[in-house]
Symmetry: C2
Subunit: 578 residues, 2 copies
């Protein structure tokens, strides 16, 4: 590609509404252009990256035996009604009526359509397994679109759907996709981590998220550096920090803790470690049939230095539909305001759930259900009945790994892929069956597998940038190599060598752009550093007189002189080793 | 590709709602699958064809200097309001509200978005010309979707938009696109014709349609076999069939023509050629301010054997907003019912427009404005005032070519491409200006260029099929070559040769599918003839013993034996000559 025939549009400053670095840099590099809230034009430079991402995804999906098709953007509501998602999904699902008043969804994903397709196409066990995928425009009407391509409304996603005879088959299909994802993210040249994930409302037996590692990531990833354990913090199991409860040694004493509503302040006042305190979190569960009278309050107890994991709380039997209690409810049930709550002597009987670690504590500190007072020396069984016990907290760095192989570390990530074992969640509602060897209809076992194609761009940049701009891995860079001739428009020798090298690199199958715009070197260099092309070759008058060109990798501190006839081989070696 | 890893789903019978051959064959061959009215899943086999079409379009657009980007499917209404199309377009434009109640269009085309993009990106004449294109999902809420991909609601289109400094630049950009389209349709391997088209409501100075020639086409294409003249019948000029009007020789006579309301019947009764009769067509033009009282009736006169061209009628000064008159209006203005109308002695004064040919007739036959009576020997100037004269009719085969180079022929076509000179139609409304050399803002001159990507599939089939199925041109076939081994699942020698040849053809860059399903020969052959793969190689036990394979082109009546070691070269020659 010659720059003069391409469209390059860089900006010195990013628009002020761009909050994160990838959004700023994509706007400045002319990769995207905002059309509306969460809706972007993919500009020529950005589209090249998207196409490279798509091609890697497509190659690896095909290699894994998945079959590409294309399902429509506009999908009849009837299918979404069959699975109940038409009602369940809320305003995130963009809905539209046609001229006859019929309802359609603008697809955020395609479980319904692909299941409809498969239930009519697949008749026999002989046709299974099958895995269909497409790379298609999606729309999700996010409440607060932000961060450019990271949380847009219109975006491109690869979604694949596997159908199997039985659970074992589904698990095999799932593993094939998992392995393909590992190959895909390796080919992107990004640091990533696959972590066990919570299945959420979808249910089913297993799911993993693929995260690009970045300090700015929204998710906390828990992993064990000395084993293969890795999970999203939402799903990471917290083991009890003591395996058994020591015997009580202290008497229960009501201590005056005026104005000390936080565990840390109480610990400081009492001269105790924070790990001796227990915090109280109050949840409420409503009973729709009984109205306000049916509401039950629950007291969740965590060690003072631990944080509640809200996903885990929802898994405690009885808490599936919990909400946080209001202050009025707390006063009514505990007789005092938050800050001094505890399990001992509540005004009304609450259900008490202790985190595994709290359950094994003795002589702990908790609120006395009276303003400005806490108990010390509190003990389960003696001062308060034995609680329900559950894993309620987020793990922290240094916790024991659930696989017993070491201690946990935490890093931040950006979710760019998700694989799910769906089981019969959709095939049941939509009656997607096949006939087994005995001619009996059986529900298909389904998996689904997504990669956020456009989101990859944002995630790759969050991981790879410096103060000059983007640093693309070569496999998804808009161009692999840029040729920067100094004075292309006025120096014949420079122009001739630039044209020759351009032709040579093109013939070698290298994706090269020749900057023939005749811009000043400073402008040229700044543009390509901002755009993030990983390899740069400078062709200058002075160097040519000495028979050399200058190579500089995007992360290199300085340029490397390379003899003119050796440059093509040099670049090929660099690309092969990338 | 191995057939066992692909998805092949053929049907013996097409669903009964498929009316035309391309729709039937695409459904039977498993290329598309209906999801809703005018909305289709593109199945794996069909998607391969779409991708090949897209790639040819993309390569030639890039070669022509157009730059690919991607504009969103969901577009803010504000831009569509700027050009007035939000109100003008009616229900064909699919509209949707987001969760905040803001209006969006689902794009049927992208003039507004690209003009918005260009007005902010292009500042100076130095940045012009520029031509942006994308290949993107479109939606048009057709009143009556039909014919599969030929008139669907969701479809894929390539749309390009050029921006130039001045009209000459726009014309150059237009010619570059025209030439690219010729290359594209040649590469598709389709018989096509570019014809001058009516600019319609868009206005501007020129436009051409590209049609795939097919007997089943909706459009009539007029061309001169001995010159380069070609136009859609809507736009084809009809010259007067006589250059001057002969003198009157007959007296005006009122003849009894009981029950003869049609020109052909009148001519037969009177023993005159049909070409001596003149038919009357009554149009009405309303005056919105004056209401019903402001309506004016117009009488359009065509030779008895000619047909009205409704596009041309709309170009007569005063008739831009015409409609056909109602029977009640006709009786009110002419004093009689249709069938006996004429320009002589109407009850109320009507405006008379004669087709060019009628204007040069003398002694003609027309209605007498009295039931069951016609005039013979009618003459302009003597019996009725000289009429307004205009080109009102469709040309017919044998008419003189407007370029004076021969006579016209007519064939039918399917519109698959359209190039337009738009001028400032959009840049004016949206204030898309650049600064010229003197620093003065000037409106950009725009062109737009569309290709109906998915429609190409339907058109290609309408042109290329037989009673066995589709016959794809090799360049857009889902596979170029199919290998049909007889007994792949049970004959080791056959399997070994099939695998060997498959690897050899793949290594030669040929898009080959190996049918390793183990189907019976009859099923295999029927499937691939229906799907329309252009080249077939049969690998059989008996042939192998004699060292030969069998080749058969999709249009060949019989197979050709080819020695095993020569087959790869043989196929490459066939593909090169396709």
């Amino acid at each position: 590609m010659r720059a003069s025939r391409f469209f390059i549009s860089t900006l010195k400053e990013a628009p002020s509404d761009a909050e994160i670095i990838s959004h700023k840099l994509m706007l400045r590099a002319g990769m995207i252009k905002r059309l509306g809230s969460g809706i972007y034009n993919y500009m020529p430079m950005g589209l090249r990256v998207i196409r490279k991402v798509e091609n890697i995804v497509r190659e690896e999906m095909n290699r894994a035996g998945a079959i590409e098709l294309l399902m429509p953007v506009v999908q009849p509501a009837e299918l979404w009604q069959e699975t109940g998602r038409w009602d369940k999904m809320g305003p995130e699902l963009m809905r539209v009526k046609d001229r006859h008043g019929r309802d359609y969804a603008i697809q955020p994903t395609s479980e319904e359509v692909v299941t409809d397709l498969v239930r009519t196409e697949i008749k026999s066990y002989r046709q299974l397994p099958v895995n269909f995928y497409h790379i298609q425009t999606k729309f999700r009407d996010e409440r607060r679109p932000r961060f450019g391509l990271m949380r847009g409304r219109e975006f491109t996603m690869k979604d694949a759907y596997s159908f199997d005879r039985d659970v074992e088959g589904m698990q095999r299909s799932y593993q094939i996709m998992y392995d393909a994802y590992v190959r895909i993210f390796n080919r992107f040249g990004l640091q990533f981590r696959a972590v066990a994930a919570d299945n959420g409302a979808i249910g089913g037996s297993g799911s993993h998220e693929f995260h690009v590692i970045a300090d700015t990531g929204e998710d906390a990833l828990v992993y064990c550096p000395t084993s293969s354990y890795a999970a999203n913090i939402e799903a990471a199991e917290a083991l009890p920090l003591a395996t058994s409860r020591p015997a009580a040694t202290e008497a229960l004493v009501k201590a005056s803790t005026p104005g000390k509503a936080k565990c840390a302040d109480v610990a400081e006042l009492l001269g105790l470690p924070l790990a001796r305190t227990v915090k109280s979190i109050v949840l409420a569960v409503d009973d729709e049939e009984k109205g306000p009278a049916g509401t039950q309050l629950w007291l969740l107890m965590l060690r003072g230095d631990h944080d509640l994991n809200e996903v885990k709380a929802g898994k405690v039997p009885g808490l599936a539909n919990y909400r946080f209690a209001s202050e009025a409810e707390i006063v009514d049930w505990f007789g005092t305001e938050p800050g001094y709550l505890g399990p001992i002597g509540t005004r009304k009987p609450v259900k008490v759930v202790a985190d595994r670690t709290v359950a094994n504590m003795s002589d702990f500190v908790c609120g006395a259900n009276e303003a400005d007072f806490h108990y010390t020396g509190a003990n389960w069984g003696r001062d308060v009945p034995e609680p329900l016990v559950a894993d309620l907290r987020n793990v922290v760095e240094g916790d024991p790994s659930p696989d017993g192989q070491g201690v946990l570390a935490i890093q931040r990530g950006i979710e760019v892929g998700h694989v799910f074992q769906l089981g019969t969640r959709y095939s049941q509602d939509m009656k997607a069956t096949y006939l087994d060897e005995t001619g009996k209809p059986q529900l298909m076992q389904m998996g689904c597998y997504g990669i956020g194609v456009t989101r990859i761009l944002g995630a790759a940049i969050e991981q790879n940038f410096d103060d000059k701009g983007i640093i693309w891995p070569a496999s998804i860079a808009p161009f692999e190599v840029v040729l920067c001739p100094m004075g292309y428009d006025r120096n014949e020798q420079v122009r001739a060598e630039a044209d020759r090298l351009y032709a040579e690199l093109q013939a070698a199958g290298i994706d090269v752009i020749l900057d023939d715009r005749g811009e000043r070197p400073g402008v040229m260099f700044a543009d390509w550093e901002l755009i993030g092309v990983p390899h740069r070759i400078v062709i200058g008058d002075r160097g040519l007189k000495e028979g050399r060109l200058e190579y500089q990798g995007r992360r290199d501190a300085a340029a490397t002189p390379v003899a003119v006839p050796e440059m093509a081989a040099f670049i090929q070696t660099r690309l092969a080793n990338a």
